[in-house]
């Protein structure tokens, strides 16, 4: 059974063979006087080149189909990374917000420091599990931080009157 990779290779090999045929005619035609015979060879030679070009351009399309899975996988990876960047940005933003509130929280000794440490602890514990996906770690930390943000905001509002 032929593999998909062999299809584009076969198309290229066939195209190459047409190029060889055209080249033979080109060389033969060079020494011939102009006239019907030369024109006839010229047309055949051109047709061989056309066949080769059709096969080459087709080979590119076949190649794309053969590698469809790899292309999609790389595309998905890029999308996954961009989504991940959004999560990290959110974590950073929330950590920053929590840090700002924590500064005041500690200052008024209202005990909000353990909250942010709890969020970091979630991260530490999550990463301890080697089977855990990085995205899950990010999402869990994010969820925990959102909770910290809510609690701290309430605390700050109460403290600030």
């Amino acid at each position: 059974m032929s593999t998909r990779e062999e299809s584009s290779e076969a198309a290229i090999a066939l195209a190459d063979s047409y190029c060889v045929k055209a080249e033979k005619l080109r060389v033969m035609r060079q020494g011939m006087p102009h006239g019907d015979k030369r024109d006839e060879i010229f047309q055949t030679e051109k047709e061989y080149l056309r066949q080769a070009d059709r096969l080459y351009s087709l080979a590119i399309i076949i190649m794309g189909n053969e590698s469809d899975k790899a292309i999609k996988a790389i595309h998905s990876a890029a999308e996954r990374i961009v989504e991940f960047i959004k999560i990290v940005n959110n974590i950073e933003r929330l950590l920053a917000a929590s840090a700002a509130i924590l500064g005041i929280g500690v200052a008024i000794q209202s005990g909000s420091a353990p909250a942010i440490l709890a969020a970091i602890k979630v991260f530490v514990e999550a990463i301890r599990d080697p089977d855990k996906e990085v995205e899950d770690i990010g999402a869990e930390t994010l969820a925990e931080l959102e909770q910290v943000k809510r609690e701290n905001s309430v605390m700050l509002n109460q403290a600030g009157g």
Partner: protein, 316 residues
Amino acid sequence: MRTEVKLGLTLGFILLSACASKEPVKKFATTTDDFVKSFNGFASKAKSTCQLKYKYMELDKGKNYNGDPDAGEFKKECDGYDSSYAVLQVYSNTVSTYASSLGKLAGLKSDVFNDEIDNVSGQLGKLKASGGETVDEKAVAAATKLIKSAAESVTGVIVDSKIKKELKSNHDDLVIVIGDMKRFANKIYSKNLHVADNYTESVLEQLKKLSYVPGGKDQFTTILASGTEKKKIEDALGARLPYRMLQAEMYKDKLLIAQENKALTAFMNSCDALVKAHKDLRDDFGELSDKEMLEKIKEFYEKVKDARENFIVLHS
């Protein structure tokens, strides 16, 4: 040395040691951008390069010939490349998007923190105005900076881990995609250049033969002389000049093909180099093992706890 300074230094050290250098990943992204531009150049010229051979071939055909480049018969050839160009663009978009997302990931910066520190001062003012407890502004700023370092370190470790994972899981697919780009360059584009060059050779050979001036009686000069004003042989001595000068034109065309071939070879080498760079990143990025990274995180966590306790002592 003040406590927060010492802690700041410690956290800074952890930050450095817990996170792998992302510079090679950023460099990989920018280099790939150049690689993709180079590929796009070849992809967009695939059709016109294919048409080159027909252009030179036409010069050698019988009967009528129209030298208008816009009206050339060769323009009707190689339509198949219109469809395949879309596929070539998919390849370049795929590699470009992947490398750029990796570059963005490696280039993440925690610059939001600076604004947040200013924000603390604003909130402090609010507290004071509302008659809240007396607070030490310097102490608050110190606490915020400590947590800022901690937060940067946490996200830094997450990002490292993600980069490492993506480099590992995408390498084999990237090898296939880059391999296809190289096959297009090596087996198709290169072939078209080679065939076009053969046809320039045919034309050049004919021009060289026509450039020959015989030593004795020259029928060609005689015929051309009949078309000059004074109908003198001396006035037609430049009969072969056009052929000789056109040789230079053909040599220029051949040079362009040779230069394109050279660029193509460089591109094919960069395909190999890109795959190797990705492999090296995959194998070497983040020198810390999972176990070592865990140790660093634990250490970091302990330091954050210390930071808080020290801060409270400092405040009281």
